[in-house]
Point group: C2
Chain length 314, copies 2
Amino acid sequence: MKVLALSGGVGGAKLALGLARVLPVDALTVVANTADDFEHLGFYIAPDLDTVMYTLAGINDSERGWGLAGESWQCLDALDRLGGERWFQLGDRDLATHILRSSLLREGLSLTEVTARLCDALQVAVTLLPMSDDPVRTLVDCEDGELPFQHYFVREQCRPAVRGFRFEGQQLARPQAQFMELLADPELGLVVICPSNPFVSVDPILGLPAVRDALASCAAPVYAVSPIVGDRALKGPAAKMMAELGLPVSAASVAAHYRGLVDTFVMDDSDATLAGTIDEPGMQVMTAPTVMKSLEDREQLARVLLSHAEDAKP
Amino acid sequence: MKVLALSGGVGGAKLALGLARVLPVDALTVVANTADDFEHLGFYIAPDLDTVMYTLAGINDSERGWGLAGESWQCLDALDRLGGERWFQLGDRDLATHILRSSLLREGLSLTEVTARLCDALQVAVTLLPMSDDPVRTLVDCEDGELPFQHYFVREQCRPAVRGFRFEGQQLARPQAQFMELLADPELGLVVICPSNPFVSVDPILGLPAVRDALASCAAPVYAVSPIVGDRALKGPAAKMMAELGLPVSAASVAAHYRGLVDTFVMDDSDATLAGTIDEPGMQVMTAPTVMKSLEDREQLARVLLSHAEDAKP
């Protein structure tokens, strides 16, 4: 069966890798958030696409949690000496991706085409798509005003309290064509919303024109894996954001966030006692080992989701 | 006294460094050729400005002859793996210069302003100026057609035989303002044409509108140091070009090239027997130790030129 995964960065990439390893090579399509993308020092930088791509290529730095394994920082150090901006960590090898992508985009290739070319060079066989070839930019509404996402996330290290989010360009952006075709494909057997940040990684994708309707009417069940386990986010600022938005920090808030959209909500086994308290209309709840530390964990979660979806077939 | 040096890359930078080390800090202005500049992978790259700047900063790789000492190549290797162009050697540290310069130029700063900013960060006290803030591009007329300079020089490694040169944009380019002011300055005591390639490093500067006239009418004597010693160029394709252009490969051809422009032609001590045969109207000939291997050699040549010019004062 065909499987579609919607992903942000690190957490989503882990599950995307698990799915890639247990599915036939042409079965999986990963759609990555591009609302984190930004222009920096003349480069077009696509952090979530890169994280997923590097993870699928097996060249990511799994200890640091982002970027490339064995990375060096000679350029960034030299840039610092020259008085340039160094708040965004540009590794020497990672830079090659930004240089080539920016160069190809300037030549007129679409982000989809550039992504395919980079994946091809890195021997990533899975289809990785940007959510859109049109620009969408996340702006974080903070106590002291609105910040572009990477300024909030990297430069300010998520310190400012958030009050909301705005996705500039989202209503004018066309969802990537293959993404929409797959949602209309009768052979689509499963949609997985990866354990990514619901507010800044998944909402930019879900809010693209026609995506919610396409998800509601697609042939496949929609699963969402909670990025919140207990009262913590496995990675990133999701829990902090929830608290600042006045929501209880728990998987239940994630379930509520996906109300009306998700058929099966997947929370961690350790939250089993909470499972019975979640009562969203039309939403089933299941538990699974969602904390992915090892490669085996990633494959195991992928297998659990796939077999659950297979068993649930009418 | 104020001194102006006109320079291309490596050979010129050596003498510029010698002059910088023996002159008071504010006495020297170096004007570098920018007709080798080019756009590559989205970067504005200025090879001669960088070579002079790195040399004056003492951070150049003197063994390799170009680029930065202690350079690494992680980005270029990664770019190669991604299928990007790797014919132009972009070191990781050097990249920082290209990134920052390109970024500042896009922000609207002039090449002069960007050069000053980079020199300031690298604690280069000498005034280093691009010959012009306007684009001039050397095109090499080769047997198989015209090649942009860096394609000829780096990608094709000077293999094609040359028939001539064209400096696109030269007649529309305004010579850098401080450069022209200095040529009109009564305190200017010496102009040195460094031992750079006469065809592709010096001619782009000399052919800018009004530069020849300004040199002819300036208060200072104009010295030119031959980049040809014996029948060889100390560095680069000058000798090969001469042969292909049908000129005898010797310092005499360089002297003839600078006819009517240079007051004192400086050839290497080892060419002393040739000195008497050079008979260009209005051109004196002197010999000096022009082969600069050590730092002391650079300083010595600078001292010889300065004291000769001092002695020759009316």
